[in-house]
């Protein structure tokens, strides 16, 4: 990141959500890298940018395709890389052709000249990094959004080289590790596909069980199955879906309808309050041993520094005891025992002994054996001639507007996000006294404030097609007219996710948290109104 020539942050406010990563971006900027920020809001990251592209929420594919189209029209694509390492370029070229700069300006709200500038700068840069976060993935077409960005990296060859790559910035300290360990519906540890008989056989043998040969459901699929009455019991570990899922009212109804809900967590979350059984757990990062895997695939040790409170137990102990009750006696396992089993079964983790993780301060997978140093970046194979393994495929993706359409009744686009000092639903961060914290308010552009005749601090009713909440407004000049912003940090006070839509991406299961159509209504004068949001009937 520090040695690159150009950085694009797309749908990412890393200055606030990944502050230490942003230190490295700024080192690069100070060494001369240009920074482009693509975000509907002029965020604190965008304020550091050479150019801010303030696109309309959900028009990312139109913008990406237009950038691709312009690169091809200008003849700036990396022909040698495309020929050697990619496939389906012809179909891509044809598909993006209609996304001219002029059309894209209409679809995205970004001036054609600015799109052209980014296209040319990205294509001409010797090294370029393309980074994204939830602004890309919390949409009904999340996977298509990501594919649209990957197309750009393939088009320019900005992948698999030092200083050039695509970087999804992970939002939790071990969300990468969770996926790596097979906490995905279709993968076993080490990304080994569960529907591949040869790989599955290896696990059958090691575990002396028959691993189910079909992939399971992701979270949104589970909620759909609950709706159909095909899903009756849920075991939630370290998650607060009642407040983190979109369309909270539906989520609550479905969770309450379960025959059996178990919640294992370090604190009694609102989801835990609905549970039949709550299993108090030790905090993984400071009360137990183990590893976590960061956004850059670096496996690092977490260590026990304090004892868990009385009654709270290590996740490994809880799961081992549960297995015992179900007739599988695993014995007393340490975190290192389990890690060594991972190393036996997952080739990309094989070389990461605890001793090496300690000595090297973490290792980036893949690490195939104990002499392997780990890999600084992925996809170097694409630069081998001939390419090693399958070619990287261009994907044809088309622009689709957000599901929750704007109309005369719901004319304002609400998008959601995070602030520097808070984290997700606030289970952890609401417990420390941050001087930066302000009461949650609906951020509106000053122009919209004037249009609706609002004064700053006034309470308004915010309604989506699903619910209403009451909240004070704040004017934020970083928002363009027609755009509003709420965080998800203080759902006990402002239940943002009552408003959001549960339209999910069929491929990843992610809900469209970033695009809700809302209306703002002035409240009748009501002295003594309290600061809590009330659940009100959907209009």
């Amino acid at each position: 990141m520090e040695d690159t020539d150009l950085v694009i942050l797309w749908g990412s406010n890393a200055r606030e959500t990944h502050p230490i990563f942003f230190h490295h971006v700024l080192k690069g900027v100070r060494k001369g890298a240009r920074l482009y920020v693509v975000d509907p809001r002029r965020t604190s990251s965008a304020r550091w940018a050479d150019v801010w592209l303030g696109l309309d929420v959900g028009s990312d594919i139109a913008l990406a395709n237009a950038i691709g189209s312009e690169i091809i029209a200008a003849g700036l694509q990396n022909r040698a890389f495309i020929e050697n390492a990619t496939s389906d370029f012809g179909a891509y070229r044809e598909a993006v052709q209609p996304y001219t700069l002029e059309n894209a300006e209409k679809l995205t709200g970004v001036p054609a000249s600015v799109i052209r500038e980014l296209a040319h700068a990205y294509a001409r840069a010797d090294r370029a990094q393309l980074c994204w976060t939830l602004g890309i993935t919390e949409h009904h077409n999340a996977v298509d959004n990501v594919l649209a960005l990957i197309n750009l990296a393939l088009l320019t060859g900005h992948v698999g080289r030092y200083g050039s790559g695509v970087n999804p910035l992970r939002g939790q300290n071990n969300v990468q590790g969770g996926g790596d360990m097979g906490a995905l519906p279709d993968r076993l540890p080490g990304f080994q596909h569960v529907e591949n008989a040869e790989l599955r056989a290896k696990f059958d043998k090691a575990w002396n069980v028959k691993v189910p040969p079909k992939k399971g459901l992701h979270l949104s699929g589970m909620f759909e199955a609950m709706e159909l009455g095909k899903f009756h019991a849920l075991y939630v570990i370290g998650e607060n879906p009642l407040q983190s899922e979109a369309d909270q009212r539906r989520c609550e109804r479905l969770l309450r309808g379960l025959e059996f809900l178990v919640v294992q967590d370090i604190l009694l979350t609102p989801t835990g309050e609905l549970a039949h059984v709550v299993l108090p757990a030790a905090a993984g990062w400071c009360e137990s041993e183990g590893t976590v895997t960061s956004s850059e695939r670096r496996v690092q040790r977490v260590r026990k520094a304090v004892d868990p409170p009385v009654g709270a137990r290590d996740d490994i102990e809880i799961l081992s005891d549960l297995a015992g009750r179900l007739g599988h006696h695993w014995g007393r396992l340490t975190a290192e025992d389990i890690w060594n089993e991972v190393r036996r079964l997952s080739p990309v983790h094989a070389g990461m002994s605890y001793a090496r993780l300690e000595a090297l301060g973490g290792i980036q997978w893949p690490c195939y054996d104990e002499s392997h140093p780990g890999e600084l970046f992925l996809h170097s194979r694409l630069w081998q001639r001939p390419v090693v393994g399958p070619r990287a495929q261009f994907s044809v993706v088309e622009f689709e507007p957000p599901v929750d359409a704007l109309d005369e009744t719901y004319p304002i686009r609400l998008t959601t996000g995070r602030r520097l000092d808070s984290f997700n639903t606030g289970v952890q961060t609401s417990r420390y006294r941050s001087p930066l914290r302000e009461p949650e308010r609906l951020d509106l552009s000053p122009e919209d404030g004037a249009r609706y005749g609002l004064t700053e601090g006034e309470r308004v009713r915010v309604s989506s097609r699903r619910a209403s909440v009451e909240v004070q407004v704040r004017f934020d000049p970083s928002l363009r007219p027609g755009l509003a912003f709420l965080t998800i940090h203080f759902q006990d006070v402002v239940a943002t996710n009552l408003l959001t839509i549960d339209a999910t991406d069929p491929k990843s299961g992610t809900a469209e948290f970033k695009a809700t159509a809302i209306r703002i209504d002035k409240l009748a004068e009501r002295p003594g109104a309290q600061g809590r949001a009330r659940l009100q009937p959907a209009p």
Binding site: I20, W48, G221, K230, Q300, P309, P435
Partner: protein, 340 residues
């Protein structure tokens, strides 16, 4: 119910073809630079060879010569203000700061001459006579090493009140019977930090960490000049009104305890801070996916402060407000602990 709900979710999407991990490519390595020229120098009569670009400090530490530093930190740009790392270089009229001076071919360096020792002793004597160094074990060690006697400047003058109000360039000369000090009331204007500038030696580290060397927030700078110079927010406004984002990276680099986490300051005040009963454990921050190493300082089963090691490429000792302060949630679960 919309149409999606009618479908069986187990069958609702096309299965993707099973993908096994992609094949191995060559192990990526960062680009290498051509080997740098080796330079030779003489240190205290001993011949030494180092790579071009090495500073004198690195060269001295490389051969085991313990050179004192106060304003220098590996992760920050040298600012040459404390002058305690000075050494004698043949042909140079003045002593040179080892922390920033690059080695040149044929340099002849002396590190333990009377002139060097005198200069270092004066630096710590001036500092210790005008600043409260009681929470800086480093300065106290240097005082012992160089035989400093700050008391020879006389007893400390009483604190002059808020130095923030000092007029630029104005300095009241004393009659010489008492040592002028930077003593002033402790600043507490937020829940997370104490700022006790009576302990500040103006090493600039906090300004650098807040600025281009790490955080790029620029909430603080050096204001005033001469003896009235001090660290200040713009117009000396309280931190909550400033650009401060409470990353605590200024505290992380402060060598004297002038900047202190509220948890540590309050425990010191109540006499319960006891480093001999503390353990330090490295783990990974529980928040975003960057993977910052945090060092948990634990006393009597409680986290009492969080720092970050300098030698990790991800953090270089720096954290954000969540990693630095957002740990209280693990402790409010203890039965009997006060819920704040």
């Amino acid at each position: 119910m919309d149409q999606r709900d009618q479908k069986d979710p187990w069958l609702s999407h096309q299965p993707r073809p099973p993908v096994i991990p992609t094949p191995r490519g060559p192990v990526p390595v960062p680009p290498t630079f051509p080997p740098r020229r080796q330079l030779s120098l003489t240190v205290n009569g001993r011949k030494v060879s180092v790579a071009e670009g090495t500073t004198l400090l690195e060269a001295l530490r490389g051969i085991g010569i313990d050179t004192p530093t106060l304003c220098y930190l590996e992760t920050l740009t040298p600012v040459n203000v404390c002058r305690i790392c000075v050494v004698e270089v043949e042909g140079s009229r003045t002593l040179v700061p080892a922390c920033s001076r690059k080695v040149e071919e044929g340099m002849v360096v002396k590190t333990d001459t009377e002139r060097v020792r005198l200069s270092r002793r004066l630096v710590v004597e001036f500092l210790a006579s005008s600043v409260d160094v009681s929470t800086s074990p480093q300065i106290q060690a240097y005082m012992n090493r160089y035989g400093a006697r700050p008391q020879r400047f006389g007893p400390a003058s009483p604190p002059a009140g808020h130095r923030d109000a000092a007029r630029a360039g104005y300095h009241e000369a004393t009659d010489g019977s008492r040592a002028a000090t930077v003593g002033q009331p402790v600043k507490k204007d937020n829940e997370l930090y104490y700022r006790d500038y009576g302990k500040c030696i103006l090493c600039y580290k906090c300004v650098e960490a807040c600025g281009t060397d790490a955080q790029n927030t620029f909430a603080i700078a050096v204001a005033g000049h001469g003896f009235e110079a001090r660290i200040s927010t713009e117009h000396a406004i309280p931190l909550p009104e400033s650009a401060c984002v409470y990353c605590g990276n200024c505290i992380g680099v402060c060598p004297t305890g002038a900047l202190m986490f509220a948890s540590e300051y309050e425990m010191r005040q109540s006499g319960t801070w006891d480093e001999s009963r503390q353990t330090q454990t490295d783990t990974i921050c529980p928040y975003c996916g960057v993977g910052c190493t945090t060092t948990l300082h634990v006393q009597d089963g409680k986290i009492v402060k969080v720092t970050s090691p300098l030698d990790k490429d991800v953090t270089r000792g720096h954290l954000c407000v969540k990693g630095r302060f957002g740990w209280q949630f693990v402790q409010i679960r203890d039965p009997g602990s006060e819920r704040r």
